[in-house]
Amino acid sequence: MDSIGLIRQFLQDRLGVEASQVGPDTVLGEIGVDSLMLLELMFEFEDRFGVKLSEDIKPPATVGGLAAVMDGLIYRLKG
């Protein structure tokens, strides 16, 4: 599963947000992802892909922004 797929699944499981409502421009705060839920989402990402996000990462505002951070990390690890 890619980053956007994982984000969609998380939002469905934890917040009941339908996958069809989640696109790159979706603002995380508007679908109930506050700072705590974002931490949990990043935790799940780290677990799933066996990676560690930087502690001082700037919290992304949108689903696309978050996916870009995740994809970038995976790309660097694979590279």
Binding site: L15, M37, E40
Partner: protein
């Protein structure tokens, strides 16, 4: 000192029977037991004991997925009970005017123990090296009152009380004092607890105070005041009351379900687990005096009555000490026999039973007591068959905790 009257305008619970408040009381009056046999697949040794759960409780349906996912089960049960009480009071969940002097006082003995236990299992049993970022906010003991205050926009006190089995009785008493003194207009109060964490259940088992039982015998396992009593039955649950300044309730046209008039607390200051009648008498007398009640005003006492060998006769001795000549006429029952011992939520669910008994003129019986009274527990009017059509003016609810902390709440029937 200001002493305002305090109305009870909302009651709510998560019932182990799966229905609503009316269904819960109807089943108690019918003498129905919610105790079932619990069998788990825990390692190293499964749990196998009589227990009370709320199997029909679906946190996602009751609270919605986003809110439920931010809570441990004790907070979920508390939030659901609080919403039920709030709706019962006819108050909007969304504040239409500032609620800066409205608050929440909550009782829990165990708090988020399940969340912590899950963390220990992850680390020590499953070999994980880190925990979910939500672990802290799931486990913290004030999670229930924090969520309640956020959801209902309560800007005043938001406090959790941990006083073992008296936790929610103390919370209710302290909430009552806030409203009576004029510090608060409305207080949401009550308690919730979930004792089926493996370590918690095994710890209670080690104390040798849990009633044994099988799938066939579990429903009658808890037998307060009975000659063959074997101990208590743990249970999960949540129960809540809305306490409101009398004039505020009248002004908004609320239905007044009852009046809370007194609160007495004391400490045995003698032993951690062996109760002392003298300490309990002080709490009983304090509650009567606080409520301006004479012994013969009291038509019903919901006893602490856990069905332990030591506790039950001491409680009867305390009632005799506090009520004197009226004791033989004092109707007493221990409804833990039917809904189990909810630990930090016990005081709240039993306060609700006392309020409903006054409101409906009906007293639920102590289960399994008919023809089975321990002579050492004689001396009060034990209710062994439910009584309906009673004219009751006032009632007490007793909560006597490990640690020697005692709390007694006094209620009056609302004037017709």
């Amino acid at each position: 000192m200001v002493r305002r009257r305090v109305a009870i305008t909302g009651l709510g619970l998560v019932s182990p029977f799966g229905g609503d408040l009316a269904d819960f009381f109807t089943r108690l009056i019918a003498g129905e037991s919610a105790v079932r046999h619990l069998a788990t697949d825990d390692r190293p040794r499964p749990l196998s004991l009589p227990f009370v759960q709320c199997p029909a409780f679906d946190p996602e349906r009751a609270l919605g997925k986003p809110l439920a996912s931010m809570m441990d089960r004790f907070a979920q049960l508390g939030m659901a009970a609080a919403f039920a009480a709030w709706d019962d009071a006819g108050l909007p969940r969304q504040a239409d005017t500032p609620r800066d002097d409205w608050g929440c006082m909550w009782g829990t003995a165990l708090g988020g123990t399940l969340a912590y236990e899950k963390g220990y299992r992850e680390l020590w049993q499953n070999g994980r090296d880190r925990l979910s970022p939500l672990a802290v906010i799931l486990g913290m003991n004030n999670a229930a009152n924090a969520h309640i205050s956020i959801q209902l926009g309560l800007g005043g006190d938001s406090v959790s009380h941990t006083v073992a089995c008296a936790s929610s009785a103390v919370a209710i008493g302290e909430a009552f004092r806030r409203v009576r003194s004029g510090e608060a207009t409305v207080m949401l109060t009550g308690g919730s607890d979930v004792p089926q964490a493996y370590g918690v259940a095994r710890a209670w088992e080690a104390l040798r105070v849990l009633a044994p039982g099988t799938a066939e015998t579990a429903s009658a396992a808890c037998r307060p005041f009975a000659a063959d009593r074997r101990g208590l039955v743990l249970g999960e649950g949540g129960a809540a009351l809305v306490l409101e300044a009398w004039d505020h309730a009248v002004h908004r046209g609320a239905t007044i379900l009852g009046e809370i008039v007194g609160y007495g607390s004391s400490c045995d200051h003698s032993h951690l687990v062996r109760p002392d009648a003298a300490g309990q008498v002080r709490a009983l007398r304090a509650a009567l005096a606080d409520g301006g009640l004479a012994p013969n005003d009291i038509g019903y006492v919901n006893a602490h009555g856990t069905a332990t060998a030591e506790g039950d006769p001491v409680e009867v001795a305390a009632l005799q000490g506090a009520f004197g000549d009226h004791a033989p006429h004092l109707a007493v029952s221990a409804t833990k026999s039917l809904h189990g011992h909810l630990l930090g939520a016990a005081g709240a669910i039993e306060a609700i039973v006392a309020v409903l008994a006054l409101r409906h003129g009906a007293i639920p019986a102590t289960g399994q007591l008919a023809g089975n009274l321990d002579p050492a527990c004689a001396g009060v009017d034990h209710v062994v068959e439910s009584r309906e059509g009673q004219v009751l003016q006032a009632a007490l609810s007793n909560s006597f905790a490990f640690g020697g902390s005692n709390a007694v709440l006094a209620f009056r029937r609302p004037a017709s």
